[in-house]
Amino acid sequence: MSIALRVLAAVAVTVLGVAPFLLGQFETGLLAEMMVWGILAMGLDLLFGYTGMLSFGQALFFGLGAYGVALSFLVFHWPFWPALAAAVLLAAFAAGVTGFFAVRLTWHYFAIITIIFSLVVYFFAVGRSDLTGGDDGVSFQVPPMLAAGGIELTVYEPIVEYYFVLLVTAAVFLVLRAVTRSELGLVFRAVRDNAEKASLLGYDVLRYRWISFVLAGAFCGLSGALFAMKSRYASASFLFWTVSGDAVIWTVVGGAGTLVGPLLGTGLLIGIRDYLSNWFEHYLLVVGALAIVIVLLAPQGIVGLLRSRQPRP
């Protein structure tokens, strides 16, 4: 990494670290929301950018993560951490089952089956509105994450919520970075580049696609769980394909296969959405135009553009 990029990264981390003291409550909350969605995009990046499987169905795992915490609180009255763990496990389990079928397909067939799986669950959720609240959704109370000796940490405290989200996002980033640089990550990239060759070298391609699919599902589930806790709300619309589509756009704009790119792309496009929509009703036109320009001019996204301007080591 070049010195300029290092400095940029250091500045970004510092700003994120002290943001609640610099920004108003609305902006702090928005930053936390960007990070939560950023986890969804990073999860997709593992699958798409690193393993070469373009999923248009990550909303399925996002939505299941959201309902995982919602129903854990509403139906089972579980505390904070078990509910969070249950949500992630539910998403991972669903990824394990759907992935078993999906990874047997490639490219557009794979993309289509992921859309189908997520739509099936979406319509199921709309149909069972007694349980899920349908498109209107369900609201719930979030129990404290820590309550001991008179100290209580809850997401109702904006600063606690912000730092909780920041820590989780940082942890997800570091874990995913380690995974993508690991022996397993190298196999993912090999499978992405040339699946036939990977099988000739003794790798069970379907197995590694499946592992990547389940890991991505778990992280997208975590994103959904955090988003639900942040909104104290879950709705069937979280399962809708537009959520999957957003994640794809954020990832591609930021730079697929770079991990930091999807995080950046998410922040940028959500920022544009939130500020632009205040005075321009058709702000989606701008987002769409920006996405097209970036895909045409910088196929590796924003991060790819920054890196290619640096001399290669």
């Binding site: 690991s182 580049d193 060759k197 003794g202 391609v205």
Partner: protein, 250 residues
């Protein structure tokens, strides 16, 4: 002593076409065998059947006395059969050393989800050794997608060796090479054959006659003849098959 590779009555039909027709093939240990034959003789299909890319219609494949008929490619690879493809096949966005690392790492139990790839250690030494062997050390950090054709072939060879095979199947290793590159590759193959059994499919007759211990001739899906280079050049049926094929092609 059991043969390294043996097929019995190996047959593959595609609809009405019989690409491989009842082939009984035996490769003893430590032999460098070439498979030759006109286009469409079934050579590549034969490789596809042995390496698990295609299931045979009937017949059996044995590797070191063990039945491997119908196993998927990754299982066949794990038993010790490495194969290079006719169209050069690498991981283009990975560096040369990463390509070889992926191959060498494949013999471990399972890739670790957190332990970094390319780290120092026994595997790293093995990768460096293989790069040295094929002469690609100076290009170790270059993305494989940027390699020249001849270097790609060398990289493929290093990757095949990285899987520690006991049998190496080479599908036209010198196709498209210049005479110099062909000579260099032939020398490398000859040197390798001291360590592993090799079967190569090759069109370059000059090279085959020079380096192969024995030659199997395929014709219309059948094994037409087998013998030393001398025996094969003197074989009347082989001459006819080749002349006939050349007339048909011309």
């Amino acid at each position: 002593m059991t043969a390294i590779l043996e097929t019995r009555g190996l047959t593959k039909r595609f609809g009405g076409l019989t690409a491989v027709d009842g082939v009984d093939f035996t490769l003893p240990r430590g032999e460098l065998r070439a498979i030759i034959g006109p286009n469409g003789a079934g050579k590549s299909t034969f490789f596809n059947l042995v390496s698990g890319f295609l299931p045979p219609t009937s017949g059996e494949v044995y590797f070191e006395g063990r039945r491997i008929t119908g196993l998927p490619p990754h299982r066949v690879s794990r038993l010790g059969i490495a194969r290079t493809l006719q169209v050069k096949s690498v991981f283009p966005s990975l560096t040369i050393e990463e390509n070889v690392w992926v191959a060498a790492q494949s013999r471990q139990r399972a890739p670790h989800p957190l332990r970094p790839a390319m780290r120092a250690g026994r595997l790293r030494e093995r990768v460096d050794e293989l790069l040295e062997l094929v002469g690609l050390t100076r290009l170790a950090r270059v993305a494989a997608g940027n390699l020249a054709y001849g270097d790609l072939c060398l990289l493929e060879m290093a990757m095949a060796l990285g899987t520690d095979p006991t049998l190496l199947l080479l599908d036209e290793p010198t196709a498209g090479m210049s005479p110099e590159e062909t000579a260099r590759t032939a020398a490398t193959i000859r040197a390798l054959s001291k360590r592993v059994a090799i079967v190569l499919v090759e069109h370059d007759m000059e090279m085959v006659l020079e380096i192969a211990d024995t030659i199997s001739v395929f014709h219309q899906g059948r094994l037409l003849a087998e013998g030393t280079p001398k025996e094969i050049t003197a074989n009347r049926a082989v001459q006819e098959a080749y002349l006939g094929a050349e007339h048909a092609e011309g």
